[in-house]
């Protein structure tokens, strides 16, 4: 029986390890996406200012705004599209308006397409760094200050920055 016992223990340990591995995939997934920069996720903290401007080429950046249909807001970019030199600092704003008679706390999730270019999309200031409270009926301009890293590979000529607006997780839990 002891031969059984030790084998069973090893197999149970393997099961436990694989259960833990399933959950470990969650941080591993983020780390992997972060290292390879393939998921279109931008940094959640402010980038340093650009050290040079590459006047030799232009990149076009489009802006998209969508929102969870369950959140009663209007949400749109002020500028639909911009041409800029890599390294050139730009400021664009997104307009959000609370269409309900309730206060809403929103959180915006950014995504850059193509995904491989996301790590070269540098945000110095962004409304997506914090949750944004909106009073009933409030209309608000939300700015993003950014530049495109001059290290951006030549093959990327068009980038898209999109935001999707959700009700913040904290407010959802308290409702």
């Amino acid at each position: 029986m002891s031969a059984h016992r030790s084998l069973i223990n090893k197999l149970l340990l393997a099961c436990a390890a694989m259960f833990a591995f399933g959950f470990a995939l969650v941080p591993l997934y983020d780390v992997f996406c972060d290292i390879t920069g393939i998921n279109g996720k931008t940094d959640k903290v402010a980038a340093a200012a650009p050290d040079r401007v590459d006047r030799g080429r232009e990149v076009s950046v489009e802006f998209l705004a969508t929102h969870d249909p369950a959140v009663a807001v209007d949400f749109a970019p002020e500028t639909a599209r911009l041409r800029l030199n890599p390294g050139e600092l730009q400021l664009v704003s997104f307009v959000v308006e609370n269409r309900s008679d309730q206060p809403i706390v929103t959180t915006a999730v950014p995504s850059v397409s193509p995904g491989e270019a996301a790590r070269h999309f540098m945000k110095i200031e962004c409304f997506c760094f914090q949750e944004q409270p909106l009073a009933p009926g409030e209309r608000k301009l939300m700015p993003v200050q950014f530049y495109v890293d001059p290290e951006l590979p030549e093959r990327f000529k068009n980038l898209t920055l999109s935001y999707r607006l959700y009700r913040s997780v904290g407010q959802r839990a308290s409702r």
Binding site: H4, F19, G22
Partner: protein, 536 residues
């Protein structure tokens, strides 16, 4: 070599106990409290048969709705419940328990062990299953209905947009997982520690080998499934954001974790069938299996590769090209060991002295039709082609060829092959041949045209379709109904044997049969190999 095992038992180990020592408890208690591998094997197989007809009935609803374009019988939400529960019942209720049932019955007999290593665990792992499926199927009768997110329950369908049946679903999947893991541990410990003296690793029958590897796959991935359903549960009810972008999660990550489980899972459902076919073909070709060692290596290679190909289910999620290429080449690599297997089966038959009893017919159909499913799998592995095939009936055709004419045909072949040993009577060969031919024709009527409508763009999981698909869909539905009805012939054949109607089976049953299980009387006594046989 597995084939040299046979007929080399020492005298007193051969036949197990004499038959007058063959007592067993009577009545319901025998089945509820049984720790006997044969009883539990029988329970698993009967449960699986019941689930085959349950899942089949749901498929009949799907085919009835798709008989004509437009909405006929059910509303789209109920249709989604049918596809979802059909998938779950067939995967976790019909195919997997059937293989565990076969393992219970045959592994101790094949390796000369008196029982499974952990008989009480064995009882538990079976009796959890009916509870799990009672929970899952009860949701069909609840307000809001059963889970409808597909058997793959992608987030956010299963988190944001699902009903409260999700909680029942998660509990049911947890129970199925616990049952599978206990079964897998039992199989591994039995094979590891309880082989008869002299039965070295390279003398193991191939069914035992394939099951050993399958059991390791189960240990590796069922806990990951448990993890992912737990994440779905907490995302839905406890405010976590594993798959919710608003809270920093990622719905695509669901697919990565799910398919990390899901791809090995599909091999869990086919490797034991490979073992069955590798057992049956030599018997009826009256030749030893060609390339035993290469079969073992091929099975292990397929199992290894199954862990690094999950991305081919996700080509259209916006994966980088490098990752797509990796998954494409890794997937195509699987064709190599699988091709080795098919080659070996054909080479086993080459110049063999073949006869075509029904287990052999199902095995031959398995080789041809599983290979068709394998080829459509290769087509799906090609990234640009997959962009067209994704989520069409072509995918449905592919996985039904590998699962129905692959796994299910393998199971049916195994039942016909071993049922004389289980019941002591031969099945009715003529009835079984009718069952085979009806199944063969109808299954191809059902699934073959799915390739065409899929290539033409008919999406899966939708209760309605464009008019140009009407004729083929009517044809497929007729095939579906015929295939469903054909399985009643199977039921009839099995019930006849269970009631002892038919010719008495000899101990060896098949002229060319090889292996320890044929050394015990037919029907196999309640207790066998109390004294281990010696394998030379």
């Amino acid at each position: 070599m597995s084939t040299q095992v046979t007929g080399t038992l020492d005298a007193h180990g051969a036949a197990g106990r004499p038959r007058d020592h063959d007592h067993k408890p009577r009545g319901l208690a025998r089945w509820l409290f049984s720790t006997n591998h044969k009883d539990i094997g029988t329970l698993y197989l009967l449960f699986s048969l019941a689930m085959l007809f349950t899942g089949g009935s749901l498929a009949m609803v799907i085919r009835a709705e798709l008989f004509q374009p437009g909405l006929q019988f059910v509303d789209p939400h109920f249709f989604n419940q049918m596809t979802t529960v059909h998938g779950l019942v067939m995967v976790f209720g019909a195919v997997m328990p059937a293989f565990v049932g076969l393992a219970n019955w045959m592994i101790p007999l094949m390796i000369g062990a008196p029982d499974m290593a952990l008989p009480r665990i064995n009882n538990w792992s079976f009796w959890i299953l009916p509870c799990a499926f009672a929970i899952l199927l009860s949701t069909l009768f609840m307000e809001g209905g059963a889970p409808a997110a597909g058997w793959t329950f992608y987030a956010p369908l299963s988190t944001k947009y699902s009903g409260d049946s999700t909680a029942f679903f998660v509990l049911a999947v947890h129970l199925m997982g616990v049952s599978s893991i206990m079964g897998a541990i039992n199989v591994i410990v039995t094979i590891w520690n309880m082989r008869a003296p002299g039965m070295g690793w390279m003398k193991l029958p191939l069914f035992v080998w394939t099951w050993l590897i399958t059991a390791f796959l189960l240990i590796a991935v069922m806990p990951v499934l448990a993890g992912v359903v737990t994440m779905v549960l907490t995302d839905k009810y406890f405010g976590t954001s594993f798959f919710d972008a608003a809270g920093g999660g990622d719905p695509v990550m669901f697919q990565h974790i799910f398919w990390f489980f899901g791809h090995p899972e599909v091999y869990i459902m086919i490797l034991p069938a490979f073992g069955i076919v590798s057992t049956i073909i030599p018997t009826f070709a009256r030749k030893p299996l060609f390339g035993y060692e290469s079969m073992v290596i091929a099975t292990a290679s397929i199992a290894f590769l199954s862990f690094i190909v999950w991305g081919h289910h996700m080509f259209t999620t916006g994966m980088p090209v490098v990752a797509e290429l990796f998954f494409m080449y890794a997937t195509m690599l699987i064709a190599v060991p699988t091709g080795v297997k098919v080659f070996n089966w054909v080479a086993t038959m080459w110049r063999g002295s073949m006869t075509f009893e029904v287990p052999m017919m199902f095995s031959l159909a398995f080789i041809v039709l599983f290979t068709i499913g394998g080829f459509s799998g290769l087509m799906l592995a090609i990234i640009p082609a997959d962009f067209q095939y994704q989520d069409t009936y072509f995918v449905v055709a592919h996985f039904h060829y590998v699962l129905v004419t692959g796994a299910v045909f393998g199971i049916i072949a195994a039942v016909y092959y071993w049922i004389p040993k289980w019941t002591g009577v031969m099945y009715d060969e003529r009835l079984a041949q009718v069952h085979f031919w009806c199944s063969l024709v109808s299954v191809n009527m059902l699934f073959f045209p799915m390739h065409f409508v899929g290539l033409a763009g008919m999406p899966r999981r939708i209760p309605d379709y464009a008019l140009q698909f009407a004729d083929l869909n009517a044809f497929m539905s007729i095939g579906g109904f015929l295939f469903g009805l054909s399985q009643l012939l199977f039921l009839w054949g099995v019930v006849r044997c269970m009631r002892g109607i038919g010719d008495k089976a000899t101990d060896r049953v098949w002229e060319g049969a090889q292996g320890l299980e044929w050394e015990v009387p037919s029907p196999a006594p309640y207790h066998t190999f109390d004294t281990p046989p010696v394998v030379k």
